[in-house]
């Protein structure tokens, strides 16, 4: 049944002075979004994280950094990515639907926006070794890519189970010169790969920079990654003026695992209350099935990977395994910005099952000739559930392409 969206009272206020509203969603000096965030790290990581927190804003706001970052995004990544008016999709759902084509980035997803930014930052910090975690392998590939570009040694931690599920991306990382180390602990998936990367950083504090792939982890990572990904919504605004004569859409829809493409897609609209922000989590086999990654539905507040946020956990505070058909969404937490947007009602958190995502992927392929990543298909899957008005302008972040998911599509869609 179609949903009507009601914004909560704090989001309905009009005529508020802009800087006051900015305070609602901007990170605090101690790294908090409302009650979420912070840096819950062992003392061994303190000097590294403190150095990053002290320097990251100065570095990324520096003119020289911005010049190098922007020119790499333009010439190497292939930005700006198109804002494509999806004609047949629009006809079907009776609204003006646009796809933000992050799938057309170099390496096939939005992940590279962040890795380009972080590798330039790592160089300015004088770091000579890069580590990263990866789930589906997209962030690992994006990290291995910029390490090859900058000639820095790269170690990527990947759950042993994920290495088997995503063998082509393991091969890509190795071809790019990265060492892929299996994370053998715990459930041997993304959360364990993240644990292993953090442990590596504890053991190699002086020469190593850890490129986190999402808006998760201790402050300043959630804010830093959101800033690097904010290029997505910055471009949306400019492109919407050209196409619709108004830089503000009615809806922005994006999928959420840790939440980096959604954070980037929402970023420049956070203070525009009239823009409805829709985040779509992976319901897996259903939110009540016990096989899900819908953190805002089944999670509670707690600490994961150095951040206070919503996470899936047992009564006893043990972190639970997340499940989704999409290896990029099966993270048992969300970034602290998302926990805050959820709590305040500024964004609405929906979820899509494996089956809905598969059908949405097939539909986009047949209507528009675009094979989306399974992650992005979760966002597309909610078009059917929202009661659009015919004039509504809707932007869906197509965060990645579906090449990596062909095996799953072949098997599950019986192609």
């Amino acid at each position: 049944m179609p949903l009507e969206f009601k914004l909560n009272p704090s989001a309905q206020r009009k005529n508020t002075i802009d800087f006051l509203k900015a305070g609602l969603y901007k990170v605090s000096p101690l790294g908090y979004y409302g009650e979420f965030g912070g840096a819950f790290i062992p003392e061994m990581l303190y000097p590294n994280v403190e150095e990053l927190a002290e320097k990251y804003l100065d570095i990324i706001q520096d003119d020289g950094f911005q010049k190098e970052f922007q020119s790499l995004l333009h010439d190497y990544v292939g930005r700006p990515t198109p804002l494509y008016p999806a004609k047949r999709l629009s006809e079907k759902y009776k609204a003006h639907i646009y796809l933000k084509r992050e799938d057309l980035n170099h390496t096939g997803a939005h992940k590279i926006n962040n890795t380009v930014g972080q590798i330039l930052l790592a160089k300015r910090l004088g770091k000579t070794r890069i580590i990263a975690e990866t789930g589906a392998g997209q962030h690992g590939v994006a990290t291995a890519t910029v390490c090859a570009l900058m000639n820095l040694p790269c170690v990527v931690y990947m759950g042993e189970v994920d290495m088997q599920r995503q063998a082509p991306n393991v091969a890509r990382m190795r071809m790019l010169g990265a060492e892929v180390r299996p994370a053998m602990s715990g459930s041997k998936t993304l959360k364990d790969a993240t644990n292993e990367a953090i442990r590596d950083w504890i053991n190699n504090p002086s020469d190593t920079h850890y490129i986190i792939g999402s808006v998760v982890g201790p402050y300043p990572y959630p804010d830093m990654v959101a800033r690097f990904q904010s290029v997505i919504s910055e471009e949306m605004r400019k492109q919407l003026i050209e196409k619709e004569g108004n830089e503000l859409p009615d809806y922005v829809i994006a999928c959420v695992g840790g939440g980096s493409n959604a954070a980037g897609s929402f970023y420049h609209f956070l203070n525009n209350d009239e823009v409805k922000l829709i985040a779509v989590e992976a319901a897996g086999e259903g939110v009540a099935s016990g096989h899900t990654a819908a953190t805002t539905v089944v999670g509670k507040i707690g600490i994961i990977h150095g951040s206070k946020t919503m996470l899936m956990q047992t009564e006893d505070g043990q972190i639970e395994e997340a499940y989704s058909i999409s290896a990029g969404l099966d993270y048992p937490g969300v970034g602290p910005l998302h926990a805050h947007l959820f709590k305040t009602g500024r964004a609405q958190y929906l979820n899509a099952t494996d089956e809905e995502a598969l059908q949405a992927a097939l539909e986009l392929t047949r209507l528009e000739g675009i094979i989306p990543a399974l992650e992005s298909a979760h966002a597309l899957a909610k078009l059917k559930d929202i009661a659009f008005k015919p004039d509504d302008v809707v932007v869906v972040c197509l965060s990645g392409r579906g090449d990596k998911d062909m095996e799953t599509y072949i098997k599950r869609l019986e192609i």
């Binding site: 062992p42 061994m44 959360k191 504890i202 053991n203 707690g302 600490i303 006893d316 505070g317």
Partner: protein, 255 residues
């Protein structure tokens, strides 16, 4: 007086503090191990609260955590196991673990349970000093339970002074930046222990991470008040043979 303060007042030097994971190797070994450690001459004991995703631990302690969780260990059960332990145990006992299980239990409830059972101190490596100061200091103090902080060779002088000011039991010095159970260069560590010895801190210092035998224990004790052994003891618990014998043999090999 808190048993930790009493111990440092009475003995002060060569303090042997042993870490083990609650509910490991068997669910109900928690008390047996504690009793045997006391009998064999350990001065203090740290009981680990198992966690699925402990960031600061190397593979040996991680696996002991996983096994304990598989055995059915939880924080509620741990307090149940410790209900009457003060009838037999007189040495200081500390609980160590990641913050999340404690937050789910409720920090206040946790400290009340510590106080009621007779736990003397708590080590939560991922609880930042600033969070403690702003949100939790008062409830620790009113429960009379010490919050013990970690320092490393990279901890700045200014921060060290702040931690010394906030500490009430002892300071836990990690011998070099690493996860638990890493092999370390004892020469380099000695230089750090010496530096700590010259700091004139108001709190006693115990060294941990990388202490595994008589040799490394004595090196740590030369300039500080003692040391903590974890990974090497977990390995001893896993060794073939009778667990009680293994414990006595291990401790006798150190002191």
């Amino acid at each position: 007086m808190n048993r930790i303060n009493h111990l440092f007042q009475q003995k002060g030097k060569d303090i042997l503090n042993i870490y083990y994971t609650a509910g490991f190797p068997q669910l109900n070994d928690t008390l047996t191990i504690l009793e045997n450690l006391q009998q064999s001459g350990a001065d203090m004991v740290e009981i680990g609260i198992p966690f699925s995703d402990s960031l600061a631990d190397g593979p040996v302690i991680q696996e002991s955590n996983q096994q304990a969780l598989k055995n059915g260990m939880s924080l509620h059960l741990l307090f149940h196991q410790l209900k009457d332990f003060r009838n037999v145990i007189h040495i200081p006992v500390i609980l160590m673990g990641s913050l999340n299980p404690v937050l789910q239990f409720g920090m206040e409830n946790f400290l009340i349970a510590c106080k009621n059972t007779g736990v003397d101190g708590v080590i939560l490596p991922d609880l930042p000093v600033s969070e403690y100061e702003n949100n939790y200091r008062q409830i620790f103090e009113s429960a009379g339970v010490h919050c013990i902080f970690l320092i490393t060779p990279e901890t700045s002088e200014e921060r060290l002074q702040k931690i010394d000011d906030l500490s009430t039991g002892f300071i836990y010095a990690v011998s070099s930046s690493s996860t638990t159970g890493k092999e370390k260069d004892i020469q380099k560590q000695s230089a750090y222990f010496q530096r700590l010895g010259n700091e004139k801190l108001k709190n006693p210092v115990l060294v941990g991470f990388g202490i595994k035998d008589k040799n490394t224990f004595e090196a740590a004790c030369q300039y500080t008040n003692g040391a903590v052994i974890g990974t090497a003891f977990i390995k001893a618990l896993q060794a073939a043979g009778d667990i009680e014998n293994n414990i006595h043999q291990f401790v006798n090999g150190i002191i």
